[in-house]
Each structure stands twice: as C-alpha cells, then as structure tokens.
C-alpha cells in the first residue's frame, strides 16, 4: 500500500523554551499539543489518534491522553529514539489510510538540560554537606537506566560507550576510508550557525567559522565540542490528517497543504559482528521513501537532516543519495548547505547543532522546519524560494551500534 497522498501535515508547533526549569515533561507535551492544534485550527475533540515515543512520561500514550483529556480510537507508541516522530507521521498516514483515525496528534518533549542542572545542584549540595553522598562522573540525563535484559549490555557497557565516542568512531572510520577531514565536518556546523543567527529561539546564534569548530575542545576524537548538538529542553508536535480534512483546513486558513509523499523506515544493528560503519540505516529507509514519492534526491529543494553530530549529517547526505558514498566531505564544503548560496539548504532553523535538540531527540524539529519551508513560513533570510518538495530524515539510537532511520518526503500542494 502506498502512502503517497494518503495524509497531510496540518499543524506544527515547536516549543520556544530551551530550559524548562519550571515545566514538567507532561506539561511540555501538553504545551506543544495545544500549539499544534491552534496552528491547525482544530480543537482537542477533533483528535482521534495519538502518537508518542519513549520520551512521554508514565504509561506513555495513555498518560498523555489522560492529561490532555483525549478520547482516542488509535494509539501508537513506536519507540526508536530520536527518529520516532518521523516514523509516527508515516504510521499516522497508514492508520488514516486504513480508516483507523482521521486526525492524529504526534508529540515529543523533554527536559534533559533542566535535569542536568538539577543533578549538578544536587551534587554540589551533597559535596557541601560532607561529600560522602557526592557521586562522581557526569550527571545522568538518559531517560532510562540500561536494561539488564539487553543481550548486548555485557559486551558494551564495560567499555564505556557514550553517545559521543560511538559517533566519533564512525567519523574516524569515514576519515580512514574516504579521506574526510575535520575541516569538512566543520562546514556542517558552520552552515547550521549561519541559519541559527536568524532564529531568536536558537540556543547558539553566533555564526562560527571552520577554524572555530576545529579549535574547539576535543570531546571524543575526532569530534570537537562544536561538532556536537546542543542539549536543550522543550519539544514539538505535528498533526496529521486525512487529505479531505487537510483540504478544508487549507481552504479556511489560506495556507498550503503539506502532503505526505514518501516514507521509509529501517533499523541497522551490529549484524552479528559482520560490521560496516561506512553507511547508516538511511541507506535503506531513503530508497523506500524516494520510490514511494516517485522523486529523486535531485528533486529535493530543502532537507532536514538529523544532526546529533556533524558526522550524522555527512552520513545521511551520502546514504540518501545527495552525493556519492565517500564524497560527503567535499559536498558540504564552502557553504553548500547554506540557504541562499548552497545547492542543498539544510536545517534552516539551526538544527540540533545550534537551535534545539529537545529530549535528546531531534526528529520532531526536523519535521517542523520542513513544514515551515513548504508553507513559506521559514525566516525570510533562510526561506528556500518556492519550496515545494522537502525531506526530513532521522537517525534514532547510535550510528556505531543499533539505530533506526526514518525518511519522510513532503510536498506543498
């Protein structure tokens, strides 16, 4: 069953906060749900499907539905880390196409930055009180502790895998295989910063240079601090509706429809130890989405690419076919990702590298900026002229071990 033209995104909202000291996780989910409903011109009683992932508190979908007072006939809590919202949009289109719901709400929210601040304050208080309760190491911000039943745990945890060093090993292997340089990776951050300067909500609005990126402190070689995304609080929501409803909303509001054209999802993992870190799961999810949409990478005018780290973007550019494998380093140089001057404008909100990475999950903000571009509602300084076809891609999990890619192609109609 093709999902091309079976659903449209009718509402999108990004929470403006980046530090949610006084907002709970469920409140953030509720804030973004309200924002997306208002953006769509809908009320909560119109929602009959709800989608969320592991960042939703308590019992997940039921807990958030209870807080919001939703009456639902379809729920889906597909969990695959940061790419989950991109899969949720595809699954919502499936459910709408199957008649399981008409209007689906997707939310993502979290407060890892506030949690880190709280953990730091608690550690400082414990140290001041005598020290024996002070714990060493960085404060935990993961949503859940490691699962003791995970079969890989014993073969990974003793070695200290963190997100940074796992992605760093992908970057080092890419450099080894293809001659990619730190300066080339830095261009990705430079492009993001050029976009973030126009976003008043972005955490990092200062335009940076290649030199500033490669001279920033080394986090896990070869990745520097400025190769890493921000840690931020907040979230976002989108509303997916069946085309007849989307058409009516579009007629009332005078805003264009954002039609789902292509979707793809795929997990990639350790493959029994027969490992190849030179490609990501996007090499599998991308072709599915392009085939469903009936378009090619050359047709895409704007791309939201998951930017947990600069290397993540480079891998997706190659795996989605925007350039050939191994040529990502040359592709991103000289501002080729900067809107207005480059061939492929990306992450015009500043992305996870500069703007926002709420709940340590970047998939929702990827969709939202693509919707802004297709509606012509991005910041004028970064708006792609006459943007009719856009792509959003997410990588949830860790590139070097197990992760799930989701690809979504959308068209303005």
């Amino acid at each position: 069953m093709s999902l091309n033209g079976k659903a449209a995104i009718v509402g999108a909202y990004e929470h403006p906060t980046r530090l949610a000291t006084d907002l709970s996780v469920v409140r953030l989910h509720a804030d973004v749900a309200k924002g997306a409903l208002e953006d769509a011109g809908l009320s909560k009683n119109d929602i009959d499907g709800y989608f969320c992932a592991g960042d939703a508190p308590g019992l997940g979908a039921a807990t958030v539905a209870e807080y919001l007072g939703l009456k639902l006939r379809h729920v889906d809590s597909t969990e695959c880390g940061g790419s989950a919202p991109i899969l949720h949009v595809a699954h919502a289109a499936e459910a709408i196409s199957a008649g399981r719901c008409n209007i689906a709400l997707v939310t993502l929210a979290g407060r890892p930055r506030a949690m880190m601040e709280e953990a730091k304050a608690a550690a400082a208080a414990a140290a001041a009180a005598g020290g024996d309760k002070a714990r060493s190491g960085p404060p935990r911000t993961a949503l859940k502790p490691p699962d003791p039943d995970a079969p890989e745990l014993a073969f990974e945890l003793p070695y200290g895998p963190a997100t940074q060093n796992l992605y760093a090993m992908v970057a080092k292997r890419h450099m080894h295989e293809f001659g990619t340089t730190a300066e080339q990776l830095a261009w990705i951050k430079v492009a993001a910063s050029h976009h973030a300067q126009h976003n008043p909500n972005a955490m990092l609005r200062k335009v940076v240079t290649v030199e500033e990126v490669v001279n920033s402190p080394m986090v896990s070689d070869p990745l520097h601090r400025l190769d890493c995304c921000v840690m931020s609080d907040g979230g976002g929501a989108v509303i997916v509706a069946k085309p007849e409803i989307a058409r009516e909303l579009s007629r009332k509001s005078g805003r264009p429809m954002v039609m789902v054209r292509g979707t793809g999802e795929a997990p990639k993992h350790g493959m029994g130890g027969i490992m190849d870190l030179t490609y990501s799961a996007a090499a599998w999810s991308g072709p599915l989405a392009f085939a469903e949409a009936g378009v090619t990478p050359a047709d895409i005018q704007y791309a939201s690419l998951y930017d947990s780290f600069t290397i993540t973007v480079l891998m997706q550019l190659e795996d989605l076919g925007f350039c050939r494998k191994g040529e990502g380093g040359r592709f991103v140089m000289d501002g080729n990702l900067i809107s207005g001057s480059g061939k492929l404008p990306f992450n015009t909100d500043g992305g996870g590298l500069c703007n926002n990475h709420p709940a340590n999950r970047g998939g929702m903000t990827k969709i939202i900026e693509a919707v802004r571009q297709l509606r012509g509602e991005a910041h004028p300084a970064v708006q792609v002229p006459n943007c009719t076809l856009a792509l959003a891609n997410g990588i949830g999990g860790a590139l070097a071990s197990r992760h799930t890619a989701g690809t979504l192609i959308m068209e303005r109609v």
């Binding site: 003793p158 060093n165 070097a400």
Partner: protein, 126 residues
C-alpha cells in the same frame, strides 16, 4: 583509572565470561552455516540455527575504529577490533598511547578485572 562495570551475564553467555576469567577469548560459531558471530548467542543471527558452538579465538585482530574521550587519568579509548575469526567487537584499547595507534594496527587481547565481576577482554597493540 576508569572503573570497569561488571558485565551483566545472561545464561547463554556464561561460558564466555568463565573463559575470560581463565584468560581465554571465545567466539561463537555456527555448525550449520559455518559463520562466527558476536555478541555470542545460542541462536545464530546469520541463519537462526540453534547448533552453535564455542571456539577458542586466536586472541589477535586489527583495529577497525577507535576514539579517546576524557582527559588525564579519566581518558579511555573505546574501539572496535576485528578478530582474526572475522567478527568485530566493541572493546577498549589499553596499555598504549592511543595517539600512536592507527586503524588497521594489529592488536592482541589482554584481560582486565571489572568491579566485582568477571574479567573483561581488552586489546593492546602487538
């Protein structure tokens, strides 16, 4: 020095950790398809046969990738090493200056104690 968390042992991997305490590195191989795999399972991930057996590994391999994180005494090097038996495993590079290591370098297994648990296989340049 970084404290090494004790591996959480599942029933099907007990033999791997018992051997590690004896200074032996094991890999799982499938009698049906002939392929080795890692992490070790009862059921072969390549062909789903339950006819898998433990095999003593040579204990040597090459560096597939690595990255050093942290500074001073807290610095440690996460790595993937491809064993001579063909499987790639997550590990640490130890007893070396990681700045001198290159991808493709030959390494051999060494075993380091964990916190109150089994010994853990790590690798050092040959």
């Amino acid at each position: 020095m970084r404290k090494i968390p004790a591996p959480k042992v599942l029933p099907e991997t007990q033999a791997y950790w018992t051997a590690a305490d004896e200074g032996r590195l094991l890999v799982k191989r499938c009698n049906s398809c002939g392929q080795a795999h890692h992490y070790p399972r009862d059921i072969c991930p390549h062909c789903l046969s339950s006819d898998t057996v433990w095999q003593d590994a040579a204990g040597t391999g090459t560096v597939y990738s690595f990255s050093t994180m942290g500074a001073g005494d807290a610095a440690y090097t996460l790595a993937f090493v491809t064993l001579d038996e063909g499987v790639t495993l997550m590990t640490n590079l130890v007893d070396c200056d990681p700045a001198t290591v290159r991808i493709g370098d030959k390494v051999r297994v060494v075993f380091q104690p964990s916190q109150g648990g089994h010994a853990v296989p790590m690798f050092t340049p040959v």
